[in-house]
């Protein structure tokens, strides 16, 4: 059974859908034809995590999410996983096994293009060595229908640094674009200091923000914090996605960060979907939270 895009927003319990329309391109880009499109963002799947206190369906959540995405009509132009594809392990063999299993499962997606990114659980212990064997570069760019996407790696360094080399690479990449170019930055950790005492920050994120700041049309999508969160740094918006394994408390809302236990009365609670529509002509994002059980859209 196919599901229309709007219907998906009402019924699916997993992942995140990001809608974009070429109309939000600034005037300088208006001459080229921009097709409306959307993509789906999934994050923090933690394949290999197996503690049923926090997720009673650890091996079924991701496949169910993929099933929901495959039912979309039309299919998203692409799917992006913003890190923590797998749950960490000290055993190199187990890490590769989890990465391989995750890769096989993600191949079940009908979407023709899938972009992967590492999280600290995938890449911090071995500097991304195993991850690269399966998914390639830790940071990269791609362009889609007039939008420049930059995938930044702020996880393969165990201290959550982007690092001077990658920052230089970012600077050189940005130089090739007009200050009004629409740019989407994909990261795992937030680039701003959301909650340093919880590790919800990038050690040198301020340097990346400094490079991005002259660009007028930048939006950041990230994961890591296992919940929906929205923040603005000057004109740059940051939007986090929910996890597909367990939710975490709101930033600094409790004295000690902890995983939120599985709610048997409300399965998959906290693992819902968010929808972001990009409006025109102001390039404004309309953000919707989807209540999983009530199947209702709530505009933020």
């Amino acid at each position: 059974m196919n599901i229309k895009r709007r219907d998906f927003l009402k019924i699916t319990a997993f992942g995140g859908a990001v809608f974009s329309t070429g109309l939000f391109q600034r005037a300088v880009f208006a001459e080229s034809k921009q097709d409306e499109f959307y993509f789906v963002q999934l994050s923090d799947t933690h394949w290999g995590f197996n503690n049923k206190k926090f997720n009673a369906d650890p091996q079924g959540t991701l496949p169910k999410a993929i099933e929901s995405i495959n039912a979309l009509d039309p299919q998203p132009d692409f799917v992006v996983f913003t890190g923590d594809l797998t749950h960490t392990t000290d055993d190199d063999e187990v890490r590769r096994k989890r990465l391989a299993e995750f890769q096989e499962i993600s191949k079940q997606l009908k979407a023709k293009t899938i972009h992967y990114m590492p999280g600290e659980h995938d890449a911090s212990i071995d500097g991304g060595k195993a991850y690269k064997e399966f998914f390639g570069d830790l940071h990269y760019t791609f362009d889609h229908k007039g939008i420049h996407f930059i995938a930044l790696d702020n996880v393969s360094d165990p201290r959550a640094r982007i690092g001077e080399e990658q920052l230089k690479w970012l600077e050189e990449d940005l130089k090739q674009h007009d200050k009004n170019a629409p740019i989407v930055v994909l990261t795992h950790r937030p680039l701003f200091d959301l909650a340093k005492e919880w590790g919800w920050a990038t050690t040198d994120g301020d340097k990346a923000m400094e490079l991005l700041m002259p660009y007028k049309n930048v939006t950041v999508f990230y994961g890591h914090i296992h919940q929906e969160h929205h923040h603005t740094t000057a004109h740059i918006q940051h939007h986090s996605a929910k996890s597909l394994i367990f939710p975490l408390p709101a930033p600094k809302s409790v004295p000690k960060k902890h995983k939120i236990a599985w709610d048997t009365d409300h399965p998959y609670r906290g693992l819902g979907v968010r929808n972001i529509e990009v409006g025109m002509p102001s390039a404004k994002f309309d953000i919707y939270n989807i209540d999983v059980l009530k199947s209702a859209n709530t505009k933020v």
């Binding site: 960490t88 392990t89 911090s124 201290r159 005492e197």
Partner: protein, 137 residues
């Protein structure tokens, strides 16, 4: 002209006696530095030393109570792998390694609770490897 010279000397004398010209203030700074050095050389004993061990994935003890305005030395070591000790509020951090002891000096001036955490990814429970320094009167 004589009157002008007299007035200049008078004004200068007034400034000197009123303390408005703090020429010796550099020496005061010198005294402050000396005081700082003396403080740094304070004898380390059980009273102002807190021993902390880091291991996967906890700090022991996770709660540390210290007094406001009193110098405390945190002595850290790791029981297994490399960890990072980080107190964001004080912008203090250090690598904590196995078989090595490192010391961190701390003299908080404000009462409050100050979280610390491991800032080097160290595995499964890394995200919950943290603690709190309670600064009391």
């Amino acid at each position: 002209m004589k009157l002008l010279k007299f007035l200049l000397v008078l004004v200068f004398a007034i400034l000197i006696f009123s303390g408005a010209l703090m020429i010796p203030s550099q020496y005061n700074n010198g005294d402050d530095r000396k005081a700082g050095s003396a403080m740094g050389a304070e004898v380390v004993n059980d009273e102002n030393m807190v021993k902390i061990t880091a291991s996967m994935w906890k700090y022991d003890p996770p709660h540390i109570e210290i007094k406001k305005g009193k110098l405390v030395i945190l002595e850290l070591t790791s029981l297994d792998r490399l960890h990072g000790f980080y107190i964001p509020e004080f912008d203090i951090r250090a690598d904590v390694m196995p078989n090595k002891t490192i010391r961190v000096e701390l003299m908080p001036e404000k009462i409050g609770n100050y979280p610390f955490l491991c800032d080097i990814f160290c595995g499964d429970g890394h995200g919950e490897m943290n603690g709190v320094i309670h600064v009391v009167d």
